[in-house]
């Protein structure tokens, strides 16, 4: 009864132990992670720690001087019925225990046992090293003590003492086992919850990494789009204005032509001619050539914008692991285009050493993400004016190799081993979640490829990717 009450209390209080805050964790995934990861380490909060006194029941002890027969009678009491053993207490202190089983074995089953031993003091047949457990011990401690001390088969329960070592009641071994089992169930439940929370936190972090790079990308892309949009709009407005002037000029010509067709007085002709002169003066035919040039620029600008938007569309489909046969060089160009703003801002020269390579089967959106990440990292690593990123491709057997090399700051050896670890970052807080490369790693692993890095601090870093040319061995589900 006690066991169950205590057990259900544990269950009832658990929800307050682990805060479930989906809203908060969406905003600050790292914050949400803390309780989740802390939970397994300290599975149940101290406030609900189950202690031995919760299992304690009063059982009248026997005095060491009590006769064997009197103690034997006690076992027939209803109060003793649930117990395996009776405590023997002298002056409040436990001195032994008498187990039902042993009393049977030693006294009652033996021929003339009752007659031989019945009148002796119980102290002569009791077990002298009873199981004694402090009331404030935890269930875990109790179970450890029991496991270490108990005799097989289990034939006794344990005595419970207070801080002064005085007998306060009995506890059942079986209850301890029950409590432990409940505890284990609760633990595994908590572990499961923690696991799920961790998993969703990681998913959120992956998402927020994506959002962080998206934010950087939007800044760059806004500039990239607004520049052509700027001259496109201006050119269109100027063309519109010129068309207005052209229409006026045409109208003036028409008036003159109409005059000759329909006739009229000369004063009107003079007026028409004067207007025509005015219009001609205002409109420079040479500007038609300029306009043609402006319209060429406009077409070019619109093309640039749609190309950028097309690239964005590719990148917005990051989750779709759609597999197709692609030219890796196109993916590289696309990543350079998207990352282009940062490259230009840092004045980084891009050197392409592309080999003759076959098309490969991969998820283009995911490989795009990997390449963009490598290019962005490489650019960020460069803090001098002679920045250069070299991208090489070549085919080796069944693999296509891509190397992205920068002449930036490099990565110290102690960091290099950890760069693919989730959450490892050397960037200032807020600039990276430390997931970029770990996502790259996952993507390449999923492709059954390999990604490695070598670096020399002060010289630069080179990332290698090897991708199977024919794609993953088994068909994608």
């Amino acid at each position: 009864m006690h066991t169950q009450g205590a057990g259900s209390r544990t269950v009832a209080r658990r929800p307050s132990g682990i805060p479930v805050e989906p809203m908060n964790s969406a905003v600050q995934p790292v914050a949400a992670l803390a309780p989740a990861s802390a939970s397994p380490a300290r599975p149940s909060t101290a406030s609900v720690e189950l202690r031995v006194d919760s299992l304690c029941q009063w059982l009248e002890p026997a005095a060491p001087t009590a006769s064997v027969l009197a103690v034997g009678e006690r076992f027939l009491d209803a109060a003793s019925a649930p117990w395996l053993s009776l405590p023997v207490v002298d002056d409040g202190r436990p001195v032994g225990s008498v187990s039902r089983y042993e009393l049977m074995q030693r006294v009652y089953i033996k021929p003339f046992g009752r007659e031989l031993y019945g009148r002796r003091a119980i102290a002569s047949v009791m077990h002298m090293q009873p199981l004694v457990i402090a009331a404030d011990a935890t269930i875990e401690e109790a179970s450890r003590t029991i496991a270490a001390r108990i005799r097989q088969p289990i034939m006794e329960d344990f005595l419970i003492v207070d801080a002064d070592g005085l007998y306060v009641g009995m506890g059942k071994v079986l209850d301890v086992l029950g409590a432990m089992e409940q505890r284990m169930a609760a633990h595994s439940h908590e572990l499961e919850r923690a696991y799920h929370q961790l998993k969703s936190s990681q998913a959120q972090l992956v998402q927020s990494e994506k959002m962080a790079s998206l934010g950087q990308m939007v800044a760059g892309v806004a500039h990239e789009i607004n520049t052509p949009l700027g001259y496109v709009r201006n050119n269109v407005e100027m063309t519109k204005e010129s068309l207005g002037e052209l229409r006026g000029l045409l109208g003036a010509y028409e008036q003159v032509v109409d005059f000759f067709a329909d006739g009229g007085d000369e004063a009107r002709l003079a007026a028409h001619l004067q207007e025509l002169d005015l219009r001609r003066e205002k409109f420079d035919p040479a500007s038609l050539d300029d306009l043609a040039g402006l319209l060429d620029d406009t077409v070019f600008g619109v093309g640039q914008i749609s190309e950028l938007v097309g690239n964005l569309k590719d990148f917005s489909r990051l989750d779709q692991a759609h597999v197709s046969r692609v030219d890796v060089h196109q993916l590289i160009e696309s990543a350079l285009k998207i990352g282009g703003n940062l490259l230009r801002k840092k004045n980084v020269e891009v050197v392409r050493r592309f080999g003759t390579v076959p098309e490969i089967v991969c998820s283009p959106a995911q490989i795009n993400q990997v390449l963009l990440n490598l290019v962005t990292n490489a650019t960020q690593a460069i803090d001098h004016e002679q920045g250069r990123i070299t991208i090489r491709t070549h085919a080796v057997g069944q693999y296509l190799m891509i190397a992205v090399e920068d002449n930036g700051a490099g990565i110290p050896a102690e960091h290099l081993a950890r760069i693919f670890d989730p959450f490892f970052t050397t960037k200032p807080i807020g600039q990276g979640t430390g997931l970029g490369l770990s996502i790259c790693y996952q993507i390449i692993e999923q492709h059954q490829g390999r990604i490695r890095a070598v670096s020399t601090p002060g010289v630069g870093t080179r990332f290698f990717i090897a991708l199977p040319i024919r794609g993953k061995a088994e068909a994608t589900p």
């Binding site: 800044a219 760059g220 806004a222 500039h223 990239e224 789009i225 607004n226 520049t227 052509p228 949009l229 700027g230 001259y231 496109v232 709009r233 201006n234 050119n235 407005e237 100027m238 300029d290 040039g293 402006l294 620029d297 070019f300 600008g301 703003n341 230009r344 801002k345 004045n347």
Partner: protein, 313 residues
Amino acid sequence: MNDERATVLFVDDEERILRSLRMQFRGRYDVLTAGSGAEAIEVVRGRLVHAVVSDQRMPGMLGAELLSRVRDISPATMRLLLTGYSDMQAIVASVNEGEIFRFIEKPWQPQRLLEAVEQAVQIARRELAVPAPVVVAAAPEGPGIKLLTIDEDPATYALVRELAGVRHDVQYATTLESALAVLSEQEIAIVIAGLKHRSDDVIGALKTLKRYSPGTLTIAVSPLGDSYGLIELINQGQIYRFLPKPLSRELLRRSLQSAIDHYRRIKVAPALAARHAVEEPAASAAEPPATLSARLLGYWRRIRDNGRIQQSA
């Protein structure tokens, strides 16, 4: 005023932008173009330029830096930024370093750009017509001036008070109304204003203030935030400096010093105040918002009428 055509220099790393702008403006001005900051500096060194319109993001040198260097080479040249992406850093730099006249976003409205450039050219022309303003060697012994701090946060006032020293008078107001009362009665040289206010529209007031009293310099103080509001504060409020909160002591000290110097220069050559002419707000909010009471409107009128420093137009 002047029959000779004014010269306008456009700077952008995208040649199509330059081609388009050249087409748009060649009927009005001598149009020069430069593909980079370095090239632009050479042009400004070599000849008189009335206005420079520069892109912000260019390889080599950012627009804000270019305009700041143009200011040193040719103080009379008006500076405008024409940019496609308004990150906070660029905007703040354009105010504090470039001391720009207008911040225009791409894609621009041709008419608005035309008006801004024309206004800039007119101001430069006027300034160049009068004998070159004596560059007032920042006379450290000049008379003390009056400063007004508007901020609910008393720490701002305390810092301004401390940095202004004993020679300058610093007033303190926590509400717009008390600030206007001070402004209508005294000649305030510099207003240091916290933009975030529980109830009052400080941004709106700064814009209105500049229209009524163009010679008053404003230093806006705010946690970094809405870049849109800041662009309006440049174009319609001509803030002199923008300082992020929490206030950096050194930044505020330098800003106050250059504001004091600049204010003294304007006192000597009032035409300089015209450089801070503001753009009319897009809406018909030319008059103080209707929510302001008649009393506030009265303050504004008094500020305008008292206008000790008016445009010399």
